[in-house]
Amino acid sequence: MKRVWFSWFSFLFCFFVSPLLAQGRFPLDLEYTAAVERVSRSFVSIYVLPEGQKSLILDRNTIYGAGVIIDRNGLILTCSRLVEKSRHTIYVFPTTGERFQAKILGINRQYGVALLKVAASNLTPISFADSRKVLAGKLSLKFGNAFQTSKDFTPSVSVGTVSGVVRFPSLGPLLRTDAAVNQGDFGGPLTDSKGRLLGILLPIWVSSRTNTYVSYAVPSHTLQKLLVDLKSGYLGILMTVEETKRGGALIEEVDPAGPAAKAGILRGDIIVEFGGVSIESTAELVRALRKYMAGDRVQILLRRRGELFRTYVILSRRK
């Protein structure tokens, strides 16, 4: 009985692992090079240059980092520390040799993640791994732009284990990795050995700018949640959540610096139509708003003291 089991087992073992080992080939090489190739297509180097700088001369003061493409139409995730500086131009370099200027769609300060947009339509997005299933001991790959050592915008790749999943007060879980994360790697992707996104590397809690074998990444399932907010544009109004339908969404407060104020929307107005979709309740407006990104121009139908108004608003990015 046992022998049958064993023979089956050894048969299968020979069949799957050994072809490589029997030929004297190292099985991990194939898997890792394939993963690197896959992720490289979605990897970007990010350089933040002072406005007006024409040439790409990189010096000590250049802000540089990495990011990852998550949508073929030019959505890029990175860490917010990299791009926050105002009056700077953000350049994004995929490994294909193209170069893009990026604008910020949204920033989440709690986690330190930023979403960028570039004018492209043919990028290769990375696929997401389910980071909820990650256990300590998982092997991971880090892709970054360490010390801007790569002049041709190919990533610097390191291997390490996910040494643990940590919960910090006021934050959700973060992945801790012992892969070598240095200055310039921040914002880059941490992937599993199949090249699927596990997280975005953070520069927080790093006292020095070099690797100390303890780095943190925002896990991919948190990123997916954050993305919903990061993607949606900012309107600049405050509403009370009402369960009952009142034939529109009542605006309680208007951000004086927000796009709504600029479009002439006042406190007490009721939005009845947003981008051609009729709005019955606050919840419906929130849902409708999520379909738009920062920079989108949306037509709004308002009711003010019984009269209907039509206006346009250009959504800004979330701060």
């Binding site: 049958v4 089991w5 089956w8 087992f9 299968l12 799957f16 692992v17 490589l20 099985p27 991990l28 898997e31 890792y32 256990l135 300590a136 001991g137 998982k138 092997l139 390490g160 284990t161 996910v162 040494s163 643990g164 999943v165 940590v166 801790r176 012992d178 050995s193 199949k194 070099t210 690797n211 100390t212 074998y213 303890v214």
Partner: protein, 332 residues
Amino acid sequence: MLRKTYLLVFLFFSASIFANEALEKAFQLAAQKVKNSVVQLQVEAVPIRPRRSFHFFRTNPRGSGDVRYLARRTVSGLVVDASGYILTDANHLAGKVRRVEVILPSGKRLRAKVLGQDLRFNLALLQVSSSKPLPVPSWGNSQNLKVGNFVLAIGKAYDYRSPSVSWGIVSALDRFSGRCLQTDAPISPANTGGALVNLEGKVVGIPVIMSTRVGVNSGIGFAIPTHIFQKLLPHLKKPGIVKPAFLGVSFSIGQAPQGVKLETVVPNSAAQKAGLKPGDYLLTVNGQKLKSGLDLRKILLNKVAGEEITLTYRRGKETHQIRLKLGQRPRS
């Protein structure tokens, strides 16, 4: 029968298609096996001004360079005996220790007593009194380790429930005159004092900080192998600092096919009392033939004061055998 086979096929396929996946799962299984034996320690200590260590090989954890310790630190420890003995890195007990608490994976806190410390190996033993026996890990054979063996460094410094797991290979054996093995697993404050386990989840060593010169992030980490710290445990159970043996001779560590030539003999040392003189050639210690000065140094480093050894030496053309009791290093 057929059913079982199919089931096996199914499980096999779902588990181990990719070599890497099998590796990760093996790591996770190994970590599972040892995770309850690695405990978190909370140490409250008043830092004292560090003395400068003047010799590289005599790294004194209490005075080692620029590692700055906070008054309160959370570190890892390893259960070595179910009755309540916990081993850790002596560096963690630097300063004037006020209080040490052990936090078991269940969250239970136990007050620990500091027993012996050995500064050659940077190990310290703690004792707790627990109503239930503590989970002892299974011990691996650290004498059979080869360079290239996979090891995992397991620590609890960040979280007393779930361990931090780092992977590496054995980089070299017999470092620091045979005191420890070297690994490229990231040995950091997260796991020193914890456990170094092999693929089966058996403990083959305890990660320690041996030298501040190499830093904590260099791909160079050290661990005291299990067979060495097991031998030390009886000495560590006595409170206080373990007194290293002192023979009182100097010699060069190079190859010595003729025997290890003694260069100087310290007055009033065990060697002088036994009648050894400069120019003598040491041939064997406890029956073990010396091939180099390093061999002699390795043997002596593993002895404590008061142990007896048998030496054979050659003076001129005659070979002598003596038995002597090793002394203590004189204060100077």
